[in-house]
Structure formats: C-alpha cells, structure tokens
Point group: C2
C-alpha cells in the first residue's frame, strides 16, 4: 500500500501542459494563455471625457466663476474637429475625445446652461485633468495584458478583445476519453435483466470533465475481456489527451484494466493499492505513441469520484496548463464529532460545509460512509480528508476540499 | 439616488424562474430540476458482492475454521444461476449477484484456495451480510433522487442516469442578449480612427454569461440613435429571456437606452442613480410581450462589470431557478488599511483575496479605483463592498464577494 501523496506524485511527476494552439477568444474561455501577451495599442487611444459635461480650459475657471460661450458638441465616436478657444466650452459626452485647447471637463450637473445666450455658467474652479482619461491611462503599448499561465476568464478575454485580438495562443483544452468496463453495465434506458446495473460512472465523469473545462469523449462501456479493453485503450490513446476508465483494477478474476494499463504503459506504469478509503485500487500509466496518461479508477461510483478528485482532476488541470491545479481547500470546523477507525488509511468523506458568522467554514453534516451510495453524496459540497486516527472531536478542524464554493454561502437567498 | 439594496429589490421583486422544459441529461448540466424526481428502480436492483471473494453461508464459518467446496464462479453481469449448498462456496467478483443460499462474502485476501482439492479454507467467522450490498441499499423505489430546485451537477446527473433516465425536466437555461451602444465602438480588429474605441463590454459579458451557465446571444453594437436602439430592443425581446445593454444610461445628450427601457417597460421601468461607485447609472424594465427583463448598464467596462455582479447575475440565477442566487461572500480581513472618502455611496473595489493559515480570507491587495481600468482588474478574485465611511483600518473585516473560489487557494501548486 502506498499513501495518497506518493500515488499523486507518481501521477503528476512527469506531466506537462499540452501543446499550445491558436484559438478564437470565444473558444479560449477557461483555457490558459501559453505566452505573455503584450499590448500593441494604448487604451484609451486618445484623451477623452469620463463624464457628460463641458470641455474647457481650466484657467478660464480660476476665479471660481465663469460664463463661457458654448461652441458646439462632441459625441463619443466623433473625431475631435473642434478647437476650444479661451472663454469657450464644448459640450462633450462620456467617451468623446477631448478637443484641442481644452484641458478639463466640468460635469453637466455642475453647470447652468443658458440656451438663449448660448453660454454655460460654472461656479467653481475646475482643475486641469478633471474628468479626463488620458491616452494610455488604462493600457500602455508594450504593457503585459495577460501573463503566460494566466487563465483566460471573461475579463481577460474582454481586455484582449479591447486590443483587437481575435485569436489567442492557449494551452489546448484536454480531450479526455471515458471508458466504463464491466459485463454488468447497461447504458440504455431499457429494462434490466437480473445481474445487470446501469452505468452511472460514465455520465458522472463526462459531466465532471465538462465542469472542469475539458472536452469529454464518450467511449462507451466495454465488456470484461482483456483483448477488447486493450484494443480500446490503444485506439483511443491516439485520439485524446487522457483516458479515464472505471472498473477492472481490483483483485477479481476479470479485472483486466490494471493489466492493460501496466502492459501498455510499460515499466513506468503501476497498479497500486492506495492507503485511502474509498478508492484503494488505482492504476496509472502513460500509453501509446503520445504517452497519454491513462487512469484506471475503481468501479464503485463513490470510489470513482474520490479517485477522480484526488488523482485525475489535478492531472487534467496540469495538462491544461493551470498554475492552480488544486481545488480550494480549507481547514473546516467540525460541528459534530466524527467517528472513524484507525486502519492506516486516509478516509475521504463527503460532507456539507457552510460559512458561519465566525467567518470559518463549518462542517454541518457528513454523508454516511459507504463507497457505493452515490445518491447519498449528491448535494455534498465538500470532501473531508481524515488522516489515520480513532476519530476527531467536535470543534476540531479537518481539511476540506470544497467542491462548490457557491454552496458555501451562508444562507440560500429566499425566492 | 437609491441605495444598492433598493435597486436590487426593484430588479428581483417580480422575477420568476423561467418555464421548465424537457432536456437531455447532457444538456441539463448546471440547470435546475423543476420537479422532484423519484426513483423508479431500486439500486442496486439485487443483492450483490461489494468485494472479490467467496460467497458462502455464514453458519459454515461459525467455529472460525472452515474448508468449503468451491462450486463455480460468478462474474459481475452473470445471472445468479448457482445455489450455494451448505459447506460450499462460490467464487464471486465485485458486483456479481449474491447466489441463493449464500448470506455473506469473505474477501479473497482472507481465503486460501487449494485448487488440487477444489476447496477454499477460511480461518475466521464471517458475519451474515458481510460484503453484501442488499437490493435498494443505495436507492429505494419512491425515494427522492433530486429535489425541485436542486442544481443538476455531474453527480446528480449520474444518479439519474443510474435510473435509466435519458431526459429531465429542468428550468430553461436563460438565453441572454447582449447589446453594446455607442457610435465610438468598433467590433472588428481593423485600425481605429481617432475617437473610436474597441468594444470590450460585449466580449466580456458574453464570457461572463457563459461562466454563469447562460446561453449568450450576441446582438452586436448599435449606434446612439433612439429608433435603432428601440427597434433592436423590441425585436430581441421576442427571442431571448433577458437583455443586457451597455452605455446610454447616463446624462449625455445621446444616452438613449434609459429612454428606450423606460418607454418600452412602461410605468414599472426605472432609470436610476444608484448610490454605488462605480455603477451609478442603471436602468431596468421588463419589455415586450413576454416582459423580458432588460438591464441598462453603464458603458465603462469596470462599471459594467460591477453592475453585472450586483444586479444582473443574481437576476439571471433567479431566472434559471437557482436557490442560491448570490456568489459566495465572506467577511475578509484587510491586510492593509483601505482609504475611501465619505460620499454617501457604497464603494465596490476589485481585490486579490487568499485564504491564510488562520483559516480566514485575507485581502492581500486592492486594485486602484478608477472605473475604466479594465486591464487592472484582470486577475482580481474578489469584489469588496465598502459601505460609506472615511476608510477602514488594517485588520478590520470587509464583506468580499468571491469571484473565483479556486484562486482563494492558499498557494499555487508548483508545476
């Protein structure tokens, strides 16, 4: 038996980010920039008004009282055709270019317009630069817009669009193949024969992959036959960036996946017994001409989920080029004592966590352990990491991996 | 001027979840179940083994020493054709049906098989039910699988797939139209003329909407002409569930959006000055035959983002039927004093937040305020809510809306 950290190091040790590729800004949402991106345009490109008001010369308002001649108006998008003479002002809208001659903008709420005389009265001294956004104030040419390794979220994509970029070089989105193994599995909705069960692992993993920003490839369910499993792995390894299979890694007579992974993965591949509950059996190797990482997860749905969180998701984040490969984890306060037996293993327990008034994350309830109770873990928003011990007292803290940050919110909003 | 909470109540007061519709499980990821969904199949459907080992009669091991005749093997997916006689055992793989006669499974690691005599020796007393999963242990017929209002995440979709569901009734995914207004806006990547700027709001909002699980509709940029804006709003209101426009809500001569929203929205629509910085001008009304909510946001990109977070995103979550309409917010500790002026407004400031060893969220740095500095706010993972005051001392707490939970992680993992 090896411990979780060693198994994880084994998985992650030689993984690198996937090659980068050019993609449209739309396609890049959630991907990671492969290179630093520098600004090639100043933003704004020209001095402009940040307010609706009047562009004028600050000196004309030095006494705190001024009546200026209104000399036209400038809208956003207009070319700055006007020149502002002394004792004149130009009506200006937010975003319109500051006309030559003017050096400040007085906001409209601080002016009194007399349309009969064509003048505007201002009863304060307006400093130079007031309500002016100067060229390059937001972005200077040559400035870093996005760093290599930064995640391209909506804000960064907006910044790039604001520079006229239509495409960006980003780490490829991992294409991840999902295979279920087992003679007992049924994928369609028809009636079950005795001994058959429906495949829950594959739809769950396909959803988890989409949640993680990967492109899932549904390979389907294959029967417990060594040659079929082997040829499926060999074929799919040429078409994807990672393979996740479930079932076939334990000590049963037809647990062929571990053999396939260790055969195809060569001397670097391993079939392991990990000191974790659930999720003990686990196989990992890199297969095919592109040395695609292949994960053999246990077949029990909750075990699959735990193994996915411990080993697969961090690896996929690494393939995607992310700096932060781990989910948020926090030291959470136990609101009830937690029983566990001392068995040398890390226990991973689904739980419901909430932020309380003390600003700490509290564990309000824990899902009864039992590696096949998938319906019971629906709704849990945290995975507790319980190192070997005889139990943990109320009020002590445990490490909790947060699966849904929004669900930590102190209370649901009333509708 | 009205305060943020009043403006928000005005937006949310009469919004309801969108109608529900049948969708495939794949399409439903992230949507909200509209009805309670009950189990129509027990899971597992039959008693089966949770371990690889031998199915046997507990009574045969009562003395703590037994040598049993091996009577065949059962794989997962096999029909349970065998009957286990007294003093017999059947080799059984995980997931295979427990054969009649047997009442427990001894795991393979606790047995010694003698293939010469066709027997298996067991040196312990195996209790009834050990390593047996009974029918209905995970899910009983009639049990609630998913509650009305539950979000259909990967786990819940896996549970539904495990019951043979191919479709689910869920609240429709909001289709949200995004319109930019402004003569100065350029959407393509070509050279800019003086006075023109590139449209950053639309690509940013389209990305934020995808991050929020909505279906964005890109309406493009329209010029500052009342009739064009009006006809665009009227047309698009028939094709979407919500409209977000940027620009045209302030006090400029061509700020037509507020007029369009209040005209089309009738007496229930309002153009507001909200006591918040940035994000003061804001218009909201419900327009068209379907009374689609229409949001008029300010044109400055950072103002747009703040208004989106304060008013739009909670409303879209409500349309989507979510119980938790707010992002995670926490009381965060200020690591540096925060200056602000007392102006009667809520100030909303982008910041970088991290969880420290004390388990609390700390604000490590704050983005210099300035409503148009979009590139500066890229990378921020929190929005601080600073009520009116003359500043906040180091060590005090402020309310922080968390924009990216993963970025709260204490440290980035080394690659």
């Amino acid at each position: 038996m090896i411990d979780v950290e060693e198994a994880k190091r084994f998985v992650l040790s030689e993984l690198l980010a996937l090659p980068s590729t050019g993609m449209t800004l739309v396609d890049a949402l959630g991907c990671v920039a492969s290179d630093e991106i520098l600004a090639h345009e100043a933003v704004p490109g020209f001095a402009n008004s940040s307010m609706d008001g009047f562009a004028l010369r600050s000196a004309d308002t030095a006494t705190g009282q001024a009546t200026l001649i209104v000399a036209g108006a400038l809208l956003a998008g207009d070319a700055p055709s006007r020149y502002v003479e002394p004792r004149h002002a130009v009506r200006i809208m937010t975003g319109a270019p500051l006309p030559e001659g003017a050096d400040c903008v007085c906001m409209i709420e601080q002016t009194v317009v007399d349309s009969d005389t064509g003048t505007v009265a201002i009863s304060r001294s307006v400093p130079v630069g007031e309500n002016v956004r100067y060229a390059g104030e937001d972005v200077k040419v040559g400035q870093t817009l996005v760093g290599a390794g930064d995640e391209l979220d909506a804000i960064r994509l907006g910044v790039l669009a604001g520079q006229g970029f239509a495409t960006v070089s980003a780490v490829s989105r991992p294409r991840v193949a999902v295979i279920s193994t087992g003679n007992e599995l049924v994928s369609s909705g028809g009636a079950l024969r005795y001994g058959e069960i429906r495949d829950t692992n594959r739809p769950t993993l396909l959803g988890l992959l989409r949640e993680a920003g990967c492109t899932p490839i549904d390979v389907g369910a294959v029967r417990d036959e060594y040659d079929v499993i082997r040829s499926t792995f060999e074929r799919i390894a040429e078409e994807c960036d990672a393979i996740i299979s479930t079932g076939g890694v334990s000590v049963g007579d037809v647990d062929h996946v571990k053999g396939v992974i260790t055969e195809l993965g060569g001397t670097d591949a391993r079939s392991m017994q990990v000191a974790v509950r659930p999720g003990k059996p686990f196989a990992f190797g890199r297969i095919g001409s592109r040395r695609v990482p292949a994960f053999g997860l246990p077949g029990n749905p909750v075990s699959t989920r735990v193994s996915y969180e411990l080993f697969v998701r961090p690896a996929l984040r690494m393939l995607g080029g992310h700096r932060a490969i781990e989910r948020l984890s926090v030291d959470a306060v136990l609101d009830e004592a937690l029983k566990r037996s001392s068995d040398g293993k890390l226990h991973v327990v689904h739980a419901c966590a909430r932020i309380h008034d003390d600003g700490r994350v509290h564990i309000e309830s824990v899902v009864r352990p039992g590696s096949h109770l998938m319906s019971a873990v629906a709704g849990a928003n945290a995975l507790l990491m319980l190192p070997n011990s005889d139990g943990i007292a109320r009020g002590e803290t445990v490490r909790a991996i947060i699966l849904s940050a929004e669900a930590l919110a102190r209370r649901d909003e009333a509708r």
